[in-house]
């Protein structure tokens, strides 16, 4: 016999069932709301990315994209890396090759000398930081310091030439016979010295009467190299070209143009490094898109020694030299190492 709710005339369980059903609906609604709130909170937390791992989420127009220019067509790369010398320096600045193919590296407060196989032969200690260097045929090392040159002959006392002033930033030295050429990027000029340290002439200054536009130096990176037949080659980075001067300072010719494409010189100021090859051609080094390239004697692009892929992003201050075997010796300031590149054989 079922118990009846006398007040309502229905089985006693009905009101209870009804009450339970009401409670159940409210509970479900509350549970759904809580679940939705928790889910929303989880989504917000997941999307908030407080550590920035997801990036800025800015649109494409805000992204600096130079990837296209950092890729080199492999068909243009005619050299491969065949050796590497760790310099042991914290900072490396300049490189030169001596008559015996010895590799001279300026860094920290010294010049390190390696033989052609990379064996550490000796170190020349200095009182300050060297910026660049050149090695004469007699073995004397001309070291460019920030505002002057120091000469380290093999078996004689060192000489310190006069300062070029407060603005001076010496960035390159080249030696040819009795001439020493010193690029002073701070004063936008190349100085021609004799071997005793006496200034003979100044090269590269703007001179309308001689139709010389002058060196345009937006960043201290002028490089010099001596070519054949009394020609001094000077980089004019602000004009993206290489200029030929007589030793007396007359502008004879120039080549080069601005372009991010492989044939030209990229960025605001390039090339930053230059080597004259025995066949009359050139090897150049660039910053921005760090590239080492070969040009013929007319300044026409020939091939790539190493493209941007071969260097760390942001590499600035590549320096170059070439040895008697035609190997391109590259000083990599990020790796703090000498990297040796040789021409590929036909089947490579």
């Amino acid at each position: 016999m079922r118990l009846m709710d006398k007040r309502r005339g229905i089985p006693a369980c009905h009101p209870i069932v009804t009450r339970l059903a009401g409670r159940s609906t409210t509970g479900v609604i509350i549970a759904v709301v809580i679940a939705a709130a928790v889910a929303a909170a989880v989504v917000v937390i997941l999307r908030s990315d407080p550590t920035g791992r997801g990036g800025s989420k800015l649109g494409e127009e805000f992204v600096y994209d130079d990837k296209e220019y950092r890729r080199t067509d492999p068909a243009l790369v005619n050299y491969k890396e065949v050796g590497r010398i760790e310099t042991g320096f914290q900072t490396v600045r300049g490189i030169a090759v001596g008559g015996d193919d010895g590799i001279y590296v300026a860094g920290d407060r010294a010049v390190a000398v390696f033989d052609r196989d990379g064996k550490d032969v000796r170190r020349i200690t200095l009182d300050d930081s060297p910026q660049c260097l050149a090695v004469a045929a007699n073995g004397a090392v001309y070291v460019g310091m920030i505002d002057h040159v120091e000469v380290c002959p093999p078996h004689r006392r060192r000489a310190k030439w006069d300062s070029l002033g407060e603005r001076a930033i010496v960035t390159s030295v080249a030696v040819s016979g009795g001439n020493v050429f010193v690029a002073d990027s701070g004063n936008s000029v190349v100085l021609r010295y004799d071997t005793s340290g006496k200034i003979i002439s100044r090269i590269g200054r703007a001179d309308k009467s001689k139709d010389i536009p002058g060196l345009l130096v937006r960043r201290p990176c002028v490089d010099v190299a001596v070519g054949g037949e009394g020609v001094l080659w000077v980089t004019n980075p602000g004009r993206w070209r290489v200029e030929a001067y007589s030793f007396d300072g007359d502008l004879k010719s120039h080549w080069g143009r601005q372009s991010e494409n492989i044939e030209g010189f990229c960025g605001c100021c390039n090339p930053t490094a230059l080597v004259a090859l025995p066949d009359g051609g050139f090897v150049t080094g660039e910053k921005g898109l760090p590239r080492v390239k070969v040009y013929d004697d007319c300044g026409l692009f020939k091939s790539v020694v190493a493209g941007p892929e071969a260097f760390a992003k942001g590499t600035v201050g590549l320096d170059l030299a070439v040895d008697s075997q035609g190997r391109i010796i590259v000083l990599d300031p990020v790796a703090k190492a000498v990297r040796v590149f040789a021409k590929k054989k036909d089947n490579q």
């Binding site: 990315d49 407080p50 550590t51 920035g52 791992r53 990036g55 800025s56 989420k57 800015l58 649109g59 127009e61 805000f62 992204v63 600096y64 994209d65 130079d66 220019y69 345009l216 937006r218 960043r219 602000g238 601005q258 991010e260 990229c266 960025g267 605001c268 100021c269 910053k287 921005g288 942001g314």
Partner: protein, 189 residues
């Protein structure tokens, strides 16, 4: 005591009273000023180390302010005043002029002005700059790194937990003394 003397006496008393009040106020002001100065000298604010910054763009979107308190600044002493400035121009501009199609900045926040052949001056319009760092990357890649990002303290709320600092992948945010709130490149060059 005459009326005149009374008047004089009141004036004297008032003078002394007002003088004492004034002295107290001056003393309190000096003490408060000293305390503020002392407390401020120990204060720090957020700033970006330009040597660490990688111009990732997070400064533009993670700041609690919209637009961000981070802006591009220009170190004129470092700038090469380039005709072809890669902080200003697109990588392959159609022309070397200030046409919008040639400009790198998506908000047009850099102004270019001819100085003399072949030098141009570039200035940041901070009202338009959102601190995305696109120009910073262009300038540091191809130029002298004269453009760089800094927290501007006329806008920054100096939050205890800076949202950009937490999202900075290069760990370039740090607190610096409030008396020297900027890390300027020209200081080192």
């Amino acid at each position: 005591m005459s009326e005149q003397e009374k008047q004089d006496g009141l004036t004297r008393r008032e003078f002394i009273r007002n003088g004492a009040r004034g002295a107290m106020l001056v003393g309190l002001g000096a003490a408060a000023g000293g305390l503020i100065a002392r407390s401020r000298s120990g204060d720090t604010v957020w700033q970006i180390d330009p040597d660490k910054c990688i111009a990732c763009g997070n400064c533009a979107t993670y700041c609690v302010l919209k637009p961000s308190a981070v802006k591009c600044v220009h170190a004129f002493g470092v700038c090469g005043y380039c005709e072809l400035c890669f902080g200003f121009f697109d990588l392959q501009p159609a022309g070397i002029d200030a046409g919008a199609e040639n400009q790198l900045c998506p908000t047009g926040a850099i102004r270019r002005r001819f100085v003399e052949e072949p030098y141009y001056e570039y200035k940041i319009d901070e009202r338009l700059c959102i601190g995305c760092g696109k120009c910073v990357e262009g300038c540091s890649t191809f130029g002298n790194s004269a453009l760089f990002l800094q927290v501007r303290h006329d806008r920054c709320l100096n939050c205890n937990e800076c949202a950009i600092a937490a999202a900075c992948p290069a760990d370039a945010f740090r607190r610096v003394p409030a008396e020297r709130p900027y890390l300027l490149k020209g200081d080192k060059h």
